[in-house]
């Protein structure tokens, strides 16, 4: 921070960051229409309302100032540096989604399980919602590791650029299933129960398709009705559901069962995406491929949305050369991909640069000299 002497850990990290920004060219489309925010050792956004004439000037600035965090506005502005906000001249905004690892005991050193879980959420967001339901094309989407413990998905599409807060919140609510009234999907007519067809859009269709798929599982089928152990009964029910007729075999407590099954299926991303981020049309969000001062990792964009094989601790490392002698300031667990073995507090070791940067940024280690 201004006025305070920079610690030697921070100085070392800034030197690494500066080198990274001078050696790597990072794409930042429409840079001149974005507001930028830079962060320091203690604060993720220390300065904002920063404007740049273009990508080249931005890169020069990053190499020179080596900010520890770089964010940019999802919005496009006529005057990105103007204040207050209304003077900026909002021209539209990308649609963004922020997925974070769930709260878990692993805390500071996010465990593999948590990282995998949030990755699966990101895949689900793209594969189950953005592509099929919202009809975006793959070329309109991009995904990147946040640099911390989650993922960001950006949608650049003229169709949604102009949507206001409340429309964006509706989109987030849909994905999280907020306000979803399950009972509306079904209606009774005498003894009959009608509901969604697998060909339907929205949650009705999702539920019908998943239900049909799971009926093949004996345990699932038995929980619905014992009659389903007879293959002909099961076939009859399945073909009826194709037509939106959900009960032609006399199922006891059918509505309660359906609701339970719906909840079991976890078709929504409830609690997994941050609706406030999606709704915020002036949000500053981490710049893809910039460095994250809390981990020393790169907020790497993932080519062709291929999240499956992406392992952030291994694939988002930015410093692949050299090593550094550090001293553990606390007890450090093994972190697959970047910290190969535990380090008890006080231990001094020479470790690869990426691991050193990771631990210095986490403030879990200091320089050992």
């Amino acid at each position: 921070m201004a006025g305070e002497a920079m610690g030697k850990e921070e100085a070392h990290v800034r030197k690494l960051f500066s080198k990274y920004y001078s050696e790597n060219k990072i794409a930042m489309p429409s840079a001149h229409m974005r507001e930028f925010g830079f962060g320091g050792w203690d604060k993720k956004i220390e300065f904002r309302h920063i404007a740049v004439p273009g990508e080249a000037e931005l890169m020069a600035k990053l190499a020179l100032e080596a900010p520890l965090y770089v964010s940019y506005s999802v919005a496009y502005y006529q005057f990105p540096s103007a204040r207050p906000m209304v003077r900026k001249g909002w021209r539209g905004a990308d649609l963004v989604f922020d997925l974070d690892a769930p709260e878990h005991s692993c805390g500071k050193f996010t465990c593999q399980e948590c990282l995998d879980k949030v990755k699966q959420d990101a895949i689900k967001l793209i594969e189950d919602f953005l592509l099929p339901d919202f009809g975006f094309s793959k070329s309109e989407l991009s995904a990147n590791f946040s640099g911390g413990r989650g993922y960001h998905v950006h949608v650049k599409s003229q169709a949604v650029e102009q949507l206001d807060r409340s429309a964006r919140r509706e989109i987030a609510d849909y994905i999280a299933g907020t306000g979803l009234d399950f009972d509306r999907l079904f209606w009774e007519d005498g003894k009959k129960l009608f509901g969604p067809k697998p060909s339907d859009g929205g949650y009705g269709g999702k539920f019908a398709r998943e239900y049909l798929r799971r009926l093949d599982d004996e345990e699932f089928a038995q929980q619905i009705s014992r009659k389903l152990s007879k293959p002909e009964e099961k076939a009859r029910l399945k073909s009826a559901i194709q037509q939106g007729n959900w009960d032609n075999i006399g199922i006891a407590n059918r509505k309660r069962k359906l609701r339970e099954k719906f909840e079991e299926m976890r078709l929504t991303l409830a609690g997994r995406i941050d609706a406030n981020v999606t709704a915020d049309i002036t949000k500053l969000i981490r710049m893809p491929n910039s460095l994250h001062g809390g981990s020393g990792l790169c907020a790497k964009s993932i080519p062709s949305l291929k999240l499956d094989g992406f392992e952030p601790m291994r694939d988002a490392q930015a410093f692949r050369q050299g090593s550094l002698k550090i001293k553990a300031a606390e007890s450090i667990p093994e972190v697959p991909g970047i910290v190969p073995e535990k380090m008890p507090a006080g231990k001094i070791a020479e470790v690869p640069q990426a691991q050193a940067a990771y631990l210095l940024c986490k403030k879990a280690a200091v320089l050992a000299d």
């Binding site: 807060r165 509706e170 609510d173 306000g179 859009g201 929205g202 949650y203």
Partner: protein, 322 residues
């Protein structure tokens, strides 16, 4: 003739605008008088009466519509423009409802004019979600979570299509006003006359269904609804009152939506905060010390206020309730 009928029913369409330009609009005193009447109906009753659909009257309707736009622009009150747009949209809706049976092609034409790309589907219409969202009310019925969404399109029923068009009409009219121009003297004078009905309207602008809101709370709600800036302490008091009165966060946030500096995020956070902290409502004397008390209703605490008890007392004692 067919064209004229369409244009007089839907004067906000581009087609109607061209039609009006072709005919040419004169500013006769009769047209101005009728325009003023239309504006008054819109502002006071919230609706606009239909006229007989004979050629001269329909031609005049086009002139009247264009004149309405000039007068209301000259008056230049956001509040009046809002009410006017609602009434015009409602008028259009009545024609849409009747055209659905007799001339469904008119509905297609209005939708197309508004840029609403409905696509005919087996059991309704498909509309891209980015067109659906701006024109649908925030209700459970229209909530995207409860809709059939696939390949970027939302399935809507026939009647919902008309509801969506109505809202698109309202937004088109509201966002196209006021027109900036130097208006002739007659128009400016009509504008002033229309502004004259404003104070009366504003006084009754917020006829709340919840009759048991005490005067101080009613005043705060009215100020918010009238886009007046309410001081921070007033907002906090209001939020505490509404939370304690049992309203949902969504409903409370909606009350604040018209504030000039409204931020959904901040408001929601504040309301949630009030709820989480279980703040108690300030007493009448505290409200008074904040400059928020507007009537001597002697209820001790705004939460104790009952229209049937304290309202009568105010009336009996001839105290003015703002």
């Amino acid at each position: 003739m067919e064209d004229l009928l369409f244009c007089s029913r839907y004067p906000f369409t581009r087609k109607a605008k061209e039609c009006a330009e072709r005919i040419g609009i004169g500013l006769s005193s009769s047209v101005i008088e009728k325009a003023e009447k239309r504006l008054r109906e819109a502002a006071v009753e919230g609706r606009i009466r239909k006229v007989a659909e004979i050629p001269e009257a329909m031609r005049e309707e086009l002139a009247v519509y264009a004149t309405c736009r000039m007068i209301i622009s000259s008056a230049s009150s956001r509040y009046l423009i809002g009410r006017y747009a609602v009434a015009e949209a409602k008028r259009a809706r009545e024609y849409l409802d009747s055209d659905e049976l007799s001339k469904p092609e008119n509905i297609d034409a209005v939708a197309e004019d508004l840029g609403l790309a409905f696509e005919k589907a087996e059991d309704g219409f498909l509309l891209p979600f980015w067109l659906y969202l701006p024109f649908t009310p925030r209700s459970l019925d229209y909530k995207l979570s409860n809709r059939q969404l696939a390949a970027g399109k939302v399935l809507v029923k026939r009647s919902e299509r008309r509801r969506i068009i109505e809202e698109a009409v309202r937004i088109r009219i509201e966002s196209s006003l006021p027109i900036k121009a130097d208006f002739p003297k007659e128009i400016q004078e009509a504008g002033k006359r229309i502004l004259g009905i404003l104070p009366k309207l504003e006084a009754s602008a917020l006829r709340l269904d919840e009759r048991d809101y005490p005067p101080c709370i009613r005043k705060l709600l009215e100020d918010l609804a009238m886009n007046a800036n309410v001081p921070h302490i007033g907002r906090v008091a209001l939020a505490i009152y509404l939370v304690n009165a049992g309203l949902s966060d969504d409903k409370i946030v909606d009350f604040f939506r018209h504030a000039p500096d409204f931020s959904e995020k901040i408001t929601r956070y504040q309301v949630e905060h009030v709820r989480a902290k279980k703040y108690r409502m300030a007493s009448c004397s505290t409200m008074d010390s904040w400059g928020l008390c507007v009537a001597d209703c002697r209820c001790g605490n705004p939460l104790n206020y009952k229209e049937s008890v304290h309202g009568k007392r105010l009336k009996a004692e001839g105290k003015k309730v703002e």
